[in-house]
């Protein structure tokens, strides 16, 4: 690392410490923080739940960062693909009677093929074009997905009643079963993808393409095939994310945008194109959101403000993100 890079890392770290301390400071001042065993139990519940949530966010952010890293395409329809995952899971649950976790065996290959088709028909045309072109194309595609979903499923909210039990850790600390299941699945899937990229030949080819597509091509890597697989994998990760959020929260065709924005914030925080960075970013974002909501008066209304303030600050201090390297 260069010296300036190291310095910006430390500045960012210092800033983050302050950012996470701020809710506590405001909480103490406004009397929402109490030094009682009971209150610490509430805090623990909230932080735990934030960590569990962050794991799931991170997983679909990995999909976004993968597509960006390899093709420099910002997929603005990523959240809509999460939404698609939620609906696929819903259809499997209510029409085929499939367990939402089992249904991934069916939905992930579908998502992979969908991603490949998308790459072939739409994204191939914008690889290598200015980033804005890809952004506009995927944004438009996201709108098409929303309207198609509205046509098929209407705008009604859907929920999937799966694993609604409570896991009581201590007398006062509890987490919900579906959150824990989602987290475990998300970590397993993310770890699988990470190992695939690190160890397998194909994974190495994907990383090589991400580093430099031309050199990869010279070395005999079929870059177009790599692009197909990358988009397939990215969409599959989004759909898996959709399956995991669908068992926790209600959704309708318009919920995708929330997840797109969250994934953006996470990869900016963690570092674009960086997989471990996305995991760290996901956890950090979810925990910060929880802390702001718990301690700042009317903080729940400020959760989004806090998330984007964090994102902008990171962009100002260290544009490459926490784990990212300086872009040339």
């Amino acid at each position: 690392m260069e010296r300036s890079d190291v310095r910006s890392f430390y500045i960012l770290a210092a800033f983050l410490v302050c950012a996470y301390a701020l809710p506590f400071v405001i909480g103490v001042q406004s009397g929402t923080v109490h030094a009682t065993e009971r209150w610490f139990a509430y805090l623990t519940t909230v932080v735990l739940s934030g960590v569990l949530q962050g794991g799931v966010y991170a997983m679909f952010a990995v999909g976004l960062t993968l597509i960006f890293g390899v093709m420099r395409i910002i997929n603005a329809a990523h959240g809509e693909m999460v939404m698609m995952g939620a609906y696929l899971t819903w259809v499997c649950f209510f029409y085929l009677g499939l367990n939402p976790l089992l249904s991934m065996v069916l939905t992930l290959p579908i998502a992979f093929l969908f991603g490949m088709a998308l790459q072939k028909l739409l994204l191939h045309a914008v690889v290598g074009q200015p980033e804005l072109t890809a952004l506009l194309v995927t944004f438009g595609f996201g709108l098409v997905m929303i309207y198609v979903a509205e046509l098929i499923f209407t705008t009604d909210f859907r929920t999937i009643p799966f694993a609604p039990a409570t896991i009581q850790i201590s007398r006062r600390i509890a987490i919900s079963q579906n959150k824990l299941i989602s987290f475990v699945m998300a970590v397993a899937i993310s770890a699988g993808v990470y190992l695939f990229l690190k160890l397998s030949r194909l994974g190495k080819a994907i990383r090589a393409t991400a580093l430099n597509a031309e050199v990869a091509m010279v070395c005999g890597i079929d870059v177009r095939r790599i692009y197909l697989i990358t988009t397939g994998l990215g969409v599959a990760l989004a759909v898996a994310g959709g399956a995991l959020v669908s068992i926790q929260f209600g959704f309708n065709p318009e919920t995708g945008i929330v997840y797109t924005l969250q994934a953006f914030a996470i990869i900016i925080l963690g570092g674009r194109g960086h997989y471990v960075g996305a995991l760290i970013g996901g956890l950090m974002l979810a925990v910060l959101e929880s802390l702001v909501s718990l301690m700042i008066p009317n903080g729940t209304a400020m959760v989004e403000l806090a998330a984007y303030a964090l994102m902008i600050s990171v962009l100002l201090i260290r544009p490459g993100g926490l784990m990212g390297v300086k872009e040339s």
């Binding site: 929402t32 609604p164 903080g299 959760v303």
Partner: protein, 395 residues
């Protein structure tokens, strides 16, 4: 000559646009029009209002029409979109020259459309809007019929008082209607001597309420007044159960009133309080003509009318009475009639104050064994509220 013709033309335009009158139409018809959400997020409640509108038009025509004029109905779709609604009302009033306007659905769209109808002096009874700020801007041609947002939680706060709750939390979505409902709940709590220990709004697309629920607990609240729609109130309840967070009372403004709420949530929806403007219970509410309306509606649409449908019907009855009192469709006379008339409709009594606001009384119900049962006010209660809510572990 040309100048005279131009003057005549302008005069015609002014007359035609300014005071619409039924006699100018073919077949002696009267044209009634409005834009309402047939698609988009408001399609469900608005669709029920359209049912009542169609029923009313056919019934009036079968009786020989409005002051002897047959009604011709022009309904357009605003796609649940404010800008579209504004354009369509401009078109209805200036191009189609409707004699009477119907109102749109939702406070947001009504607030925007009221600026158009006000400009053209077209009076109407707004059955699709419950936010009182609409009537606090000195508007003269819009009249309220339904209970206002500030009263949605009145019953819940009274019930909280009855079971000895001393500390409540008021939470709600960060938008116009829930904020007004929260303001009203706070005022009622103050009047009844209940301490509001937490007030919090959340963004419209919030899905995770874990931190907020812990915060409510940490603040020591015994009951939650949630000014929420379907998705958010459902998420709050699910997460309360999943995290084993218990309150003595939970009340939501809109969600529990929708038929699919108990269906989708199952046992989790039990004991929840909700608000309704009106219920199809003629033996309890005893409003004039209620039974006849409910029977006619059920016969035609194979379901009982809900409060959206009932409100629209009541407003149309008021409109009809006002037209009769005004003796025509002159907008000033009609406005005067709507402002002064007293009508006992199937929806309840209509008599507005100087601001144009009615004082409709709503109903608080509780979901008990999958059914909505009226529990407040006492004069209309079908059953006694089962409160405090049992803990999740003991159900």
């Amino acid at each position: 000559m040309i100048r005279a013709l131009a003057a005549a033309f302008v005069a015609l335009l002014v007359l035609g646009g300014g005071s619409a009158w039924a006699g100018h139409r073919l077949n002696n018809e009267v044209l009634i029009g409005g834009a309402i959400s047939m698609t988009g997020q408001y399609a469900e409640p608005a669709g029920r209002q359209v049912n009542s509108i169609k029923l009313w038009v056919d019934e009036v025509n079968a009786r020989g029409g409005l002051l002897g004029h047959k009604i011709s109905l022009r309904l357009l779709d605003d796609k649940s979109d404010i800008q579209t609604a504004i354009k369509l009302y401009e078109k209805l009033i200036t191009e189609d020259k409707v004699d009477l306007v119907l109102c749109p659905y939702s406070s947001g769209i009504t607030e925007a459309v009221a600026n158009v109808t006000e400009r053209y002096k077209m009076p109407f009874v707004a059955y699709g809007a419950a936010s009182s700020p609409i009537w606090e801007k000195g508007r003269r041609y819009i009249f309220n019929i339904v209970a206002i947002a500030e009263d949605y939680q009145k019953g819940a706060v009274h019930l909280a008082k009855q079971i000895g709750v001393t500390k409540i939390a008021i939470i709600g979505q960060d938008s116009l209607f829930p904020r007004q409902a929260g303001k009203g709940a706070k005022d009622w709590a103050k009047k009844l001597g209940i301490d509001v220990v937490l007030e919090e709004n959340y963004p419209t697309k919030q899905t995770d309420f874990t931190a907020l629920l812990q915060k409510i607990k940490a603040a020591g609240a015994e009951a939650v007044i949630s000014n929420s729609y379907f998705a958010d109130s459902a998420a709050q309840l699910r997460q309360m159960r999943e995290l084993n967070v218990n309150f003595k009372l939970f009340s939501s403004t809109v969600g529990p009133g929708l038929p699919n709420f108990p269906e989708q949530l199952g046992a989790t929806a039990e004991y929840v309080l909700g608000f309704s403007q009106w219920e199809p219970l003629p033996h309890i509410l005893k409003h004039t003509g209620m039974k006849e309306y409910i029977d006619a509606y059920e016969k035609r649409f194979n379901e009982k009318p809900n409060y959206h449908a009932g409100g629209a019907w009541g407003a149309l009855q008021v409109t009809e009475a006002a037209v009769k009192k005004a003796g025509g469709f002159d907008s000033e006379k009609l406005r005067e009639a709507m402002a002064t008339i007293e009508v006992n409709s199937a929806f309840g009594r209509y008599k507005v104050d100087a601001k144009g606001m009615n004082s409709h009384e709503g109903i608080t119900f509780q979901i008990l064994r999958g059914q909505r049962r009226v529990v407040w006010p006492e004069k209309w209660a079908e059953t006694k509220a089962e409160l405090p809510m049992p803990e999740w572990g003991k159900r």
